[in-house]
Structure formats: C-alpha cells, structure tokens
Symmetry: D4
Subunit: 214 residues, 8 copies
C-alpha cells in the first residue's frame, strides 16, 4: 500500500473481467477499493459481482467497502472544501469528492461560484475559510483558484478542467493560468485530474488528523 | 488620417533622423504626433528638435502637440479607467494612458489591484463602475480582466503583459486566459499592446463623446 | 443581471430538462432569454415548452421574448455590421447576430467578402463606414479584420473561426493573426466566439444609444 | 497579511529605493520580511540600510528579522525535506529553503540524488520517509518527483527547473512530466518557483504544527 | 532488402487486397513478412489467404514465415528485454516483441514496473542487467527509461506511448521527457513506435550475433 | 552548380578567412559569388580582398562579379516585384533583391503598402499586375500576400518576417497566416528567408526568360 | 476570374443543392468547373445533374468541362511532375493532378520514391530533370522535397501531408521540415494542400506556355 | 561507474574550482575524465592544473588521461562514422567524436554531405556501409539521417542541431523530423546532444568489441 492507502485502479482500457479480478484480490487483502475513469459498461459488470459497490456515474468512479459496513460510517468532516467555477466542472469535482470519501473524509461541495459572478463566492467565504485544504476545479481561463487563494490561508489544489472551446486548448489554458497564479498558496495537478486533487487534499488533511489522533 | 486620428509612429527600428523627419511632416500637416516604443536615445534626439514634446520614459512614448497649446488643455474626463494587476504591469498601462491623452482623454489609473488581494479591487469599485471602457493590464495568469468584467457593465479591454516567468511563456498564458474569460464583456489585444488597448478604449468612448457633441 | 443584460445560457452539456427549468426561472423574473450552443435535440424540447421561442439552427441559438410581444419590435438599426470572409464563417456570424437582436439591435450582415476577392469588400464600403462597431468573422489566415480596420474609424471586433485545415490549427492561426493586426482599431475574442463578439459590439453601440437616450 | 504570513516581495523590476521603502514599512508594522529574485546590486543597497538582513546569493533572496533576535532562533525541525536531482537545481532549492526558514521551519536539504544514480536516493530514504512534505526540484526530464512519490506517504511538491538544453524547452518538459506523474501524491508549481514550493510545503506542515500547538 | 532485413509493410490505409498482393510478392521472393498497424478486418483477409500467418491482435501485427517451418524455430535468446511502465503500454511493447521475433530474437517481457512502485523494478534487475539492449515503453511522464538507464550498461531504447490524459499531450510529454533523460544511455523513437524500437534493438543485438557468428 | 546557378554562401558562423578562401575558389572557377547573412566585420575583410565586391549592409549580403564587368550590366527588367508591408520588413526584401540581381534580374521594389493603409497598394497595382512573380515580405499578421494574391495572376512568394511583438511569435504567426492564405496563388518560404524568396522568384521568371531566349 | 482561371469551389460544408447551383452558374458563364474536397454523397448529386462531370474519389475532386468536348483534349505535356514519398500520400498528389488537368496540363506522376529507398528516386531522375515545376507530396519527416531539390534546377513545390503518427503532429513536422529545406529551390504550401500545389505549379508552367504562345 | 564508463562532467554552471576538484577526485580513483560544455575560461583553469588535458574548443570538451600515457594509444578503429549535413553542425559532431575517443574509439568524420548536394554522400558510401553505428548531425530540416538510413544496415543515431533560423525553432524542427524518419534504423537524441549520440554509438560498438574480445 502506497501513502498508507491501497492502490487506486485506473479503469480506462482494462477489460471488465480484469477489473473484477483486481477488485477481488484487493478485497481479499482487506483493502477498500476505488476505481476511476470507469465506463457505464464496466461499472455494470462490477456491480453485478459486488452489489455493495457505490457507482458514481458523473464522477466515473466506483467504490467498494472492504466489509459489509457502509463506506460513510465514520467520515471526518469539516476539513476539505471542493469548489467549481461552473456547473460543467462538476464531474471533475465529483471524482475528487469520491476519492476523499474513500480516504475517510466528508468534503463540502460548492458549485458554480466562478469569477464572473463575484457575489456568489463572497457569500460562501465562511465555508472555505476554516478548512485544511481547498480543491478548485475550473476550466476556460481557470481564474478561480487565484481568487480563492486570495481569501484563504490554507493550500489550494487547483485542478484545470477541459471545459471551454477554441483557445482553451482542451484545458491547457486553465492549466497554464493556474501554474502562474499570483496567489502563493496555489498548487496544480493535471487537467481533469480530480482523483489527484482529492488524494493530495486528503494527504494534507491527514497531517492534522494523524497528529490530532496521536 | 485613419479612424479620425493621425497615424501613430512605431519607433522601434527607425533611425532618430527618420523619426525627426516623420514628425516634422506630421506637424506640418497640422497633426498632433504620437510615437510608441521609443528608446531613450531616440527620445533625446527628438526632444532636441521639438522641445515641446512630452517624453514618458516608463511608457516609452513621445507626444508632440501640433501647436504651442499644451496637450492636456481640454481633456475629456471620467470616461476611461486603466487598471493593473501588479506594479510591474505599469509600463503597459502608461502606454495606454499616453495614447488616450493623445486622443483627448484623461484616463483614471489604478495600480496593483491583482486578484490575490481581493479587498483592493473591491475598495476601488466606485472608480470603475461608471465609465465607458476599462483597460486591464495583467501578466502571469491574467485573471484580473475576468474579475473586473464581473463587476462592471461596460467593455473591458484586456491587455496581457509579459510579466511573469516559467510557464507564463512571455505573456502567452495571460493572453490565452483572457481570451477564455468567462466574463462576456472582455475583449483582448496583443501582449504588451498598451497602445492598442488605449486606442480601442478611446474609440469606444468616442461613441458617446461624438454623439453627445452632435 | 450582468452589464445591464440578463445572464446568457451556454447550453452545451446541460440536459434539456435543466434548460427548461432555467428558462422558466428567467422568464418568471421578466428576463428575455438567450441560449447559445444549443443542439437540435435540446432546441426541440425547449420549443415544445416555449412555442414562442425563436430557434436559429445555423447559429445554434434560441431566444425567448419575455412576453408575447415579438422580439424584433423595436430594434435599433444602423449601428452594427457583421462581416464574414467566407460562407463557412456564417454560423459564427449568425451567433453574433442573434446576440445583438437579443440586445435590441438589428445588425447588418455581409457574407463572403474575403480578401482574395478585393472588389467585393470595396463595393460594400458604404455599409461599413458609418456604424458604431463592426464584427468580422474569418478563418484560415484571418486577414479580413486588418483590411476592414484600414477602411473604417470605429472599433472592429475580430472573431477567428475554426474554418480551414492543416496549419490553420483549428482557428489558432486566425486568432494569432488578428491579435497582431497592423490596424490599431482591431480587438479580438476567442475562436468561434460569435456570442462574445456580438455582446461587446452591443455594449459599444450602447455607449451611443444610452447617451442619445439621456 | 495573507495566509497568516506577511506579503513576500518579488524584487525583480523594482528599484532599490522602492525596496528599501517597502521593507521599512513592513518592519514598522512588525513583520519579518522576505524578498525574492533580488539582484546583487539591489541586495547591496538593502543590506546597507538593514545590516541585520540575511542575503542568500544563490537563492537570490533576502530575509530581514522583525526585531534584533536572530531569524533561526526557534525553527521547527524535522518536517520538510528539500531534494534536488542535480547540483544545478540548487538555486531553486535554496529559494524554497529560505522561504521555509522565513516561515519558521528548518528544512533538510539533499542535493544531487537524480534518477540516473539510483543508489544515491535509496541511501537517503530514512531522511525522506517521516516528514510532512517533500519538495523536489528537478530539470531536464523531471523524473525525480515520481520516483520519490513512490517511496513516501506525504505530499510531494514538484518544482520543475529550467536546467537542461534543447528539448528541455526552458523547463516546460520537466513541468509537463511532473504534471503527468504516475505517483498520486505529486503536485506541481511553476518552473523555478522555489518560493511557491516552499510556501506550500510550509502551509502543509502548518496543519500539523498548528494542531499540535492547540 | 534494407539493413539485411526485408521491407516491413505499414498496413494502415492499404486495402486488404493490396496487402495480399504485397505479401504474395514478398513470399515469392523468399522473404519472411511482417505487417504492422493491421486492423482486425485486414488481418482476417490475410489469414484466409495465408493460414500459416501469425496475427497478434494486441500488437496489431501479422507475421508470415517464408516457408512451412514455424517462425520461432531458432530464435536467439537472452539478448533483449522489453519493459513497460503500466499495463496500458502493452500494445506498444507487443509490436516491438513481434518485430524482434521476426528478426529472429526471443525477447524477454516485463510489464507494469513503473516508477511509482519502485520495488517492482528492483526485483527484476537480474533480468535486465545482462542483455544487449533494453526497450522501455512508457506513457504519462515517461520516467521509466531514465530509471532503467541508471541501473544498466547497455543502450536503452525509449519508446513513449500515448497513454495518459490532459497534459500528456498524446505522448508528447513522455517523448520530451525521454529526450531529456539524465541517463546517457537512453535514445528515443517516435510515440507508439514499437516497431522502430524493436528494429533498432534487433540491429544492436545483431552487432554481437553477427560477430559471434563470424 | 545547382539549378544552373553557383552555390550561395551562408556566412553566419564562418570565419572571415574561410569566407575569403571560398570566394577565391568560386571566382577561380569563373562563378559570380553571393554571400548571405554576412556581418559588418566579415564584410570588411572580404571587401579588403575583393574591392569590386558590392556589400549591402541592410540586406546583409555581398556580391562579387566574376570579372571586372559591373554586376548590373545586362539585368533583365520588368519581371519581378518585391513588396513590403512595413518599413521594418525592408532588410528581408533587400536580401531578396540582392539575390535577384545576382541572378541577372532588376526587381522593382515597393515599400510600406501594408493592409492597414489600403489606398497605398491600390495606387501601385499597375506595378504588380504584369510581372512573372511577386515577392511579399510582411511581419505581424502577414496579411499582405493574401491581399496581393487577390489582385494578380502570377505566383506570389510570401516571406514572413520576424517584425512584431508578443503573439507574433518571432514570425510564426505571419508564417502560419501565409500558409493558410485564401488566395490560391500564394506559396511560402521560411521566416526572414529573403534569399529563398528571391531565388524561387528568379527560377520562375527563368521559365520565361529561357523560353524566350530559345 | 482570378489569375486568368475561374474560381475553384471548396465543397466542404456546402449542401449538394448549393453545389449544383454554383456549378450551373459557372457553366452558364462558360467556365470549366473544379470542385475540391467533395464527399461521395455530394459527388453523387452533382453527377446526376452533370453526367459529363469527372469525379476522382481518391482526390476528392470533380471537374466539369464547359462544353461537350472532353476535358483532356489539348493538354500541355511534359511540363510538370508530381512525386510522392509513400503510397499513402497519393490522395494529395491526385488533388494536385486534377487541378493541373483542369488548368490544361498533363502532369507526370511518380509514386513511392521516398528517401528510405534511395535507388527508386535515382532511377526516376530523367523524368524530373527537364520540367518547369515539380510537386512533391510527403508526410512523416517530409524529407523528399529537399532531396529532389538537390537533383533539379526548377522550382519544387513541397506539399506536406498528414501521413504519419505520434510526433508527425498531423503534418506539422513535415511542414516545418520543408520550410527549413537546405535546398534553395523549395517553396511550401499548407498541409494536404494538393490543390494549391497544383495551382502554383500550373502558374509557373504558364510563364513558359504563354511566352512560347506569344 | 555507469555503463562500465566513469561519470562524465557537464561543466555548464560549475565554477572552475569545482571542476578542478571533481577531476582530481576522478583521476585519483584511476578514471579517465571527460568534461563537456566547458567554456574557454573554465578550460584555461583546468589546463593549468592538468597540462596533459586535451581541450577541444570547437567541441567544448576536455579529456584527461588517467595516467601519462597518451589518450589515443589503443583506439579501436573502423567501427563508427560521424556525418554532418553542413559545416555549421561541426561542433556537435566534434562533441560526439571526443566522447568516442574517450571511450576508446577512433571515429571517422565526414563533413558537409547534406541532402541538397546528393553526389557528396553517394561518393562517401564506402565509408559508411561497414560500420557498427553511424552518427548523423543535422540542423534545419534534419533530412540527412533518413537518407543515410536508406543506404546502410546499422543503427543510425540522429542528433538534431540548432543550426538554422525562423521555423527551425532552435532545432525542434530537425528533432521532430528525425523522430518521424521513414527509415526504420534511425533513433534520436536531444538537440545538440553530441555527447549522448557518441555515448550510445560507443555502447553499440561495444556489443561487438566485447564479444570479439571474449
Ligand atoms: N484518475 C487517475 N488519474 C491519475 N492517476 C490515477 C488515476 N486513477 C488511478 N491512478 C493511479 O494509477 C495507478 C494505477 O495504474 P494501473 O497500474 O494502470 O492501474 C495508481 O498508482 C494510481 O495512483
Ligand atoms: N505600439 C504599437 N503596437 C502596435 N501597433 C502600433 C504601435 N505603435 C504604432 N502602431 C501602428 O503601427 C503603424 C505604423 O507602423 P510604421 O509604418 O512601421 O510606422 C500604425 O498603423 C500604427 O497604428
Ligand atoms: N509501425 C511502423 N512505424 C514506422 N515505420 C514503419 C512501420 N511499419 C513499417 N514501417 C516502415 O514503413 C515503410 C513502408 O511504408 P509503405 O511503403 O507505406 O508500406 C518501410 O520502410 C518500413 O520500414
Ligand atoms: N540566407 C539563406 N537562407 C537559406 N539558405 C541559404 C541562405 N544562404 C545560402 N543558403 C543555402 O545554404 C547552402 C550553403 O550552406 P553552407 O554549406 O553552410 O555554406 C546552399 O545550398 C545555399 O543554397
Ligand atoms: Mg455558471
Ligand atoms: Mg502587488
Ligand atoms: Mg468565398
Ligand atoms: Mg549529478
Ligand atoms: Mg500499474
Ligand atoms: Mg507603415
Ligand atoms: Mg513505401
Ligand atoms: Mg554546405
């Protein structure tokens, strides 16, 4: 197990049979499973085999608890907020959310607070100013992480999305913008990498959870 | 004369003698002169010949009034605001300012209101919400025009600057970001093109000036 | 409401049900609606609910008047001209046109006056030399805005289109060309961004409309 | 103050006089100062005014303690390790180190453990496996963060450097590689952005410091 | 025949009939055939005509022995190892394998030893440290060839794959990374060019085979 | 001799001594010499040795007639016109001119007829409508070749220049624009490649010269 | 009519009805028609209306003679050769061929003489050394035009094709290579622009045809 | 020691003192030294300390034999040929040569056999058709490796150089071309990476040397 967490399965390009085999092995070794980039077709096969699995169609993820206990029993709250600039960025945000739930966190989600409607973010400030880490998913010009970074004092994980057209270059413009953020607390992951954003946010929150546990 | 305004001289790569010749011709035909991208050395020669010229070292511009009257006699106020994200964007803003003065406008200038310090812009809102056009110069991720666009109801001329390093790609990142602005009232000019931003802002304000004049 | 106009709905990636809901809300708050990038399928559902809606298949837009009155009742004429270089640029031009009609303007449209047939533009000069703003949609090398900019004295909103092949790079070549226009009155929006071009042209014309109104 | 820390001064393009003024103001408001990207010439002027300042020529930084007390009095140890792939990546690492010292941390530094000499990193594993955050500076192909990410269970802040030639594209190749890291715990900042890497690593360690303090 | 080997047929874009014709000609001139980038449909037609052909669906290759003898009769062993970073890189590895078998080699294959799981590669070191050439197929950040290069003393042929998303740019990121490898024994071929990697590895091993034969 | 013409010497990076040696050899074999991209320093040395040489500082070329006869004795007139968009494009145009004189042509030169001042080109139409080939040098958006192509019926050799700033990308924008010209008679050479433009224009005119000679 | 030739119709994106209308108009004004980038479906409709039309499925072109006379009656021979590097470049070559036939030329075609099989080109030298212009279509690295340019003394029109994969970047690599040709007689058109290559080659040959006619 | 060879020192960015220290250490451990990318200034200091060192100003390398014996005493001949397309590619070729001498080989060098002068290469064929590996250094369009690859049956190491201007993009065009070579025996290293090309060629020749030794 890496980083104290079991390996996550990137489902794209794997056969459904292969997925069932991998998940069976992981469950046998007492690990809670997470699969990302799963197609509807793949999910169907996996769900047949593991009816307790939780499939999120928007996030394109599947989670399987290692035992009969529900997944969400003892989630840690209040540590992480996930923001999106527009409603189209939601799938990436959901992938981050699912990753965090799998890590034992209950993230807070705020959708459609992009910079062109400045009042919306300002109204939500209380929900982002006392957390361990914030994930911001944004496409097009990707300006939201900088703006959020200016209002908070924790790390901001910026995840560019491929939302946009023309000179958005499939998310490259948002990516480049986020890397050049004038806010010092912004760090960046790959385009549409909701999983990575969630995983790193979880690791950051772990710093506090583990220290408060010990 | 194009657009009702005399031709502007792009000084880069012209000899000082050539510049003096061109300005002499323009003044003889009763035109107020503007030179952009002028070097200190070129400016010196021009100033010797035309002591009434106004040289702006930061903007790298020179203005010569067509007669003895001062340039700023009857400037139109209150129509255009120029904003910069950082202090390093000032040269581009100054080029836009000089262009506007040459067009007969007295622009308002607000420096260093970048998105990482959100309170600064909010404090200045009264100065940007009743004008005909706003110019926003920003480098790095170029997020400021989107944010400004969200607060105002006039056209925002976004001018990306080459301020930044690494993945700022000499201003390309800011340029791409601005083109993908989620604010519908943002339009874009070339990197460091303070002259163009100023000229277009002036043409927009002209719509009202000329109509109120008639 | 932003810029004095209601929010415009970007339909791509939204369900038809979601669109109907949003439009219902907007109409209830007495706003005239505009949807862009709407698919035939989405349009059909919307039209069933709002038979008074005006769907433009080429522009991929839908407009819904806020009351029974027709949309075009009191359109302001003679302010804005939309030009295209080729016939293939028409969808982008139409999106700009629809946006302007929604803003209360009746734009003039001139198609297929690209630079390779120079007489065609020259014949149309009277239709472009007395307006508040001109929109020029062009793909391939995107040269038309510069040429138009040389003949007129108002702002030219250049909108690059993805028309072309090979080194046209999906519109990037036209975009870059327009940003480097040697005409000082040319400003640029994103590739295929007919909506933005229309919106900014409308805001420019508003300068005069509002001042002549007051 | 942003993120609980005072503003950091980006010295590039500012006059020495301007720097002295800014630092005077910050010190008057009882803030410890950090200046980055400072030139030798600028540093000299600042040092004349504030002899207690600590200038790091390799890092191109200057730190000024807010009172007579030395800077390093009560540094928090054992939380953060800074790694470099080669010796040429050192300036970027030093910038991160200086930022961390200014934040009250004493980072551990390991130089020249690039992937082409695999034994070197393996020998250093004990120094990287019990920290809160790791910074990895690497140029050329930028492979080191992925390799480090595979050995540890904390967040890895990858900072690409412009070290290399030809297809290293001034650091873009390393940047792109890091963004595509197959290790899930790797997040990325801009090319040569030692300051940002340091700041974010500090914020991550703060999660634990503040929680263990409370 | 080039390089002592018959010409290899790139099947993409050729009709099935054309392929049968070409293979017939080659077999008549007593050459063992290799076709690459063959589709399932093309393969079916070829197999009908030459039932002795060996079609590899994953590699998208077809081999036809020049006479009745099986292909693998007298393969040279122990000279070449093919590695992949992930399981998704397998098709590219298989194309290299098939090319090598066609050249008379029996390559060793090791799958899924990417850098994020460092123990996996270390366990396989004995299988890569006594060969003539190593092929490494990797997508995403393409770090594996550098790491392998650090452990061995033979040439490493790095073949970037298009595995990944977002900033992996269809394999360009892996390609650029490999070209900038800090390991001196790494050389590079085109994205997904399993055939080329195999061919060059074979030519390298030929140096020894031919010299030991003579 | 290639193409019926002697080899042209690309002087960049050659020592002055080497240049003198090469020119001596060429003259001994009775060839008229052309050197391109020659520096002032190199030119001085060459001129000392061959006082009959004609050095063009703007074009950065040197021509040496093979015997005492002047170079321009029997130049063919009226076949080729060289146009520039701006005055800054002149060096590239001059390199083309010098190449053509060396090939025995007397080209016609028209400077500063860029598209932003449309009357200027129209006034010059008689000078471009009866020639064998036209060379058009333009930077920035590179629109002039398309416009010229629309007025004439001979091949137009477009040569992009590096004139411009920001998104002109050192001439790439002009290059891409010219390649996408909507005029069918436009063909393109490398950025600043005045020599190549001249050489190809000369070869085209040769078609007629040689046929009318025979 | 441009360049003495009627306008050519780019069929992509036009309705079949629109095509029939345009061709009817052209034929009424006594012009021989050429349509490029025509789909099978469009071609079918056009052929129904004009059974005398000549549809080339590989070239994706359609030609309609202006009267009953066959197209090829009085074609000028021996002036132009079209070469391809591989068999996959044939469609682009065919588009050039069709354009030339429409201009009244009978081009010579030589397929699959790419640089990796050097003997093939050398055998064909007699067919390329006495023509007015040569068109070379090549994908992948696009080296053939340089090699051809070294053997001949007429202009070489290089047309890059999108044949290739990975770092061929859809033809950009071939395009860039051709622009940097070390052969001085190579000029370049857009990727896959067979029509343009043919048209320019025809215009070059026209220089001689018209002069020998007069 | 990597690959059986001592570590090579990349001198760029190291102080002269540091270089002397490193070389002293290497010599003490009985290793023959190679330094690359050494400046004239650095070389002077090193030469003062180690008068037996061999400095190659063109290659920017320095070699120091481990004992008094001359370097070239027992060089292996006839295995490797180094080719350049133009004379300007020589520095890169020399770096490869020096690397090979340091590895114990005496490479053969052939300069200026670029594709635009096809006879030159053909005359040299005997010198390239019986070796273990060929290095080809070429800038501009980088076509030479493909052409060479077509004539020989050993691996061709292509090394792109930054020779060229405009669209040569500092060597990227040559690099991309070489990666797309239609010759199957071509593999590629970084731009200007003469050292790497030499090292890999040496490792290939080692296959035969070591096997013939054993
Ligand atoms: N959506 C994702 N994006 C990036 N990496 C992922 C994703 N999902 C899983 N991974 C990583 O991919 C690796 C598994 O890849 P594989 O061996 O192909 O299943 C694990 O190390 C995960 O950390
Ligand atoms: N800083 C500038 N950026 C872009 N265009 C400019 C600038 N200054 C002047 N121009 C334009 O450049 C043209 C003059 O160029 P030139 O003929 O080279 O002097 C005029 O049309 C101006 O509109
Ligand atoms: N998968 C491949 N990738 C790159 N080159 C290939 C591949 N398969 C065959 N080739 C080369 O392509 C050439 C044949 O191309 P063609 O004439 O189009 O069949 C031969 O020279 C082969 O060396
Ligand atoms: N300015 C130039 N741009 C491009 N190619 C040139 C130029 N001047 C000379 N050449 C070509 O460069 C080759 C000579 O290169 P070299 O062997 O380095 O002297 C000749 O084939 C010329 O055709
Ligand atoms: Mg929204
Ligand atoms: Mg500031
Ligand atoms: Mg048209
Ligand atoms: Mg090292
Ligand atoms: Mg794996
Ligand atoms: Mg001019
Ligand atoms: Mg072939
Ligand atoms: Mg040469």
């Amino acid at each position: 197990s890496r980083c104290g967490y079991p390996e996550v399965i990137y489902c794209e390009g794997k056969t459904s049979t292969a997925l069932v085999e991998i998940f069976t092995l992981l469950l046998e070794s007492k690990q809670r499973c997470l699969g990302t980039r799963i197609s509807e077709e793949q999910a169907e096969t996996v769900l047949k085999q593991f009816p307790q699995a939780i499939y999120n169609q928007v996030a394109r993820t599947i989670r399987i608890p290692e035992k009969d206990a529900a997944f969400d029993e003892e989630l840690t709250k209040g540590k992480i907020t996930v923001l999106t600039a527009g409603t189209s960025d939601r799938p990436v945000a959901e992938e981050a959310m699912e990753t965090l739930i799998w890590m034992g966190y209950e993230p807070d989600l705020i959708v459609d607070v992009g910079v062109a409607g400045p009042h919306r973010l300002i109204e939500q400030l209380p929900r982002i100013q006392n957390v361990s880490a914030i994930i911001v998913a944004a496409g097009m010009e990707g300006a939201l992480p900088s703006v959020v970074g200016g209002w908070v004092s924790c790390p901001v994980i910026a995840v560019p999305t491929s939302v946009g057209y023309g000179a958005s270059l499939g998310g490259l413009t948002a990516l480049l913008g986020m890397l050049n953020s004038c806010a010092a607390n912004v760090t960046v992951v790959n385009i549409n990498a909701g999983f990575k954003a969630g995983f790193i946010a979880g690791l950051i929150a772990d710093q506090q959870r583990s220290s408060s546990e010990s």
